[in-house]
């Protein structure tokens, strides 16, 4: 299953490292990273594959959310299909 991880918040050192670490620890493979900074705000979108992962999506979501809250970032992980259906015919 392909996953879209979005991270929004104030820029700081080590955001990508932190998120990548959590994904790596859970055997979630990052396929694509897209990132920009607008007005000091960090926007990042990762596409990842969690087919080989043992962790359940709900647990991963919780983990990312909690880690994000610690450093004032909003981190979401969603099934990719919602974006496909909305933006592709």
């Amino acid at each position: 299953m392909k996953l879209v991880v979005t991270i929004v918040g104030k820029d700081r050192v080590g955001i990508i490292a932190m998120v990548s670490n959590i994904l790596a620890e859970n055997n979630v493979n990052i396929l694509n990273i897209n990132q920009n900074i607008m007005d000091g705000f960090f926007n990042m979108v990762m596409i990842a594959e969690m087919g080989d992962s043992k962790i359940k999506l709900a647990e991963l979501q919780k983990l990312l959310h909690e880690k994000g809250e610690e450093i004032n970032l909003d981190i979401k992980a969603q099934h990719q299909e919602i974006f496909n259906v909305m933006h592709k015919i």
């Binding site: 979108v45 709900a58 969603q78 919602i82 974006f83 933006h87």
Partner: protein, 453 residues
Amino acid sequence: MITIDDILETNRMITENKLDVRTITMGISLRDCAHPNITQFCQNVYDKITRSAEFLVKTGEDIEAEYGIPIIHKRVSVTPIAIAAEACKTDTYVPVAEAMDRAAREVGINFIGGFSALVEKGYTSGDRILINSIPQALASTELVCSSVNLGSTKAGINMDCVREMGEVIKRTAELTRDREAIGCAKLVVFSNAPGDNPFMAGAFHGVSEAEKVVSVGVSGPGVVKHALEDLKGADFTEVAETIKKTAFKITRVGQLVAREASKRLGVPFGIIDLSLAPTPAVGDSVAHILEEMGLESCGAPGTTAALALLNDAVKKGGLMASSHVGGLSGAFIPVSEDAGMINAVARGSLSIEKLEAMTCVCSVGLDMIAIAGDTSAATISGIIADEAAIGMINNKTTAVRVIPVPGKKVGDSVEFGGLLGYCPIVPVKSEYSSAAFIARGGRIPAPIRSLTN
């Protein structure tokens, strides 16, 4: 390949513009529950609902988490009880409503619809028992919703039932007067009611439906309003195009949720109801869309035209996004559930007469309107007759859900709580009587447009 902009747009719709899937509703046929003993019938109903919908809430929550799209309600609709319970040897269906209420609690849903009768052409004995049971049923349950269809383009209007429903609404208000007449917020009187509507309070599982179906009602007034904010001064072609594109996106999400829910529950997909359903939350209002089009306040001249454009564009955009469309499909205008409508009533720009005109072009009818407690049953029946006539002649669904709040008068307001919202008492022209008109009874014949063969 989806772009970062697409992803951020979707998530902005969800977080900032309150995009959600309003309801996943499972329709369940109760036609196989019939039994002459009402206690046994109630047990059959309870068992069938709890067995069929056991995983409905859990499935909804799983989908919600996985895709990151809020699914506000998980609900159940059943075969109209007047039909399902007709074999019972009894003079009241209140115990059936109580069994539905218990079943709804057991499976964790927040409303169950189908305490209903379809009487547009006439009553059966079950229809009469059901209608007599409505006030007590709504007073002694919390989650049960009731509806009565008393008119259609094909059959005309049952004016005996129009008269009776005015009285039923008054009695329901009286029996729930300690809770701001909340019973009336769970009672809808329809003309041309669809059998596949997933929205409460008017949902029931139509007699021509399959054994079980899963239908989804989408929403998203905030998303449409946001899209129009970038179009200041643009002409209506552009406005309509933008609404269509937005409705398409919203509906695609609804279709995804419906497909997943159907697959996981092992229940066939019914329909998507393409609706803009407001909530009292700021940023989730249909009235604010109309105001965004350039009206200073909802109810100003031009409001009906604005709503007509909105309603039509939502359907055109949504239609392409779903394999099966049905239900009510359009923009709802429930007064107490829409922050913009509430404000418009409070500042005096929106009257019940203007709302009546708007019901000619919106998805349903006069919805969630609190009126003075001393409004007579005949006046309420007059309002119902007018709405039913609009539905009958225009081949559309219309409905009345008014709440005559005991002890309240114009100038007061009433708080229903939660998604039912609050509402200033809306003035009704009740100084002129409709009593002699309503007392006639009988049937208004089906209109010429019913003869389509």
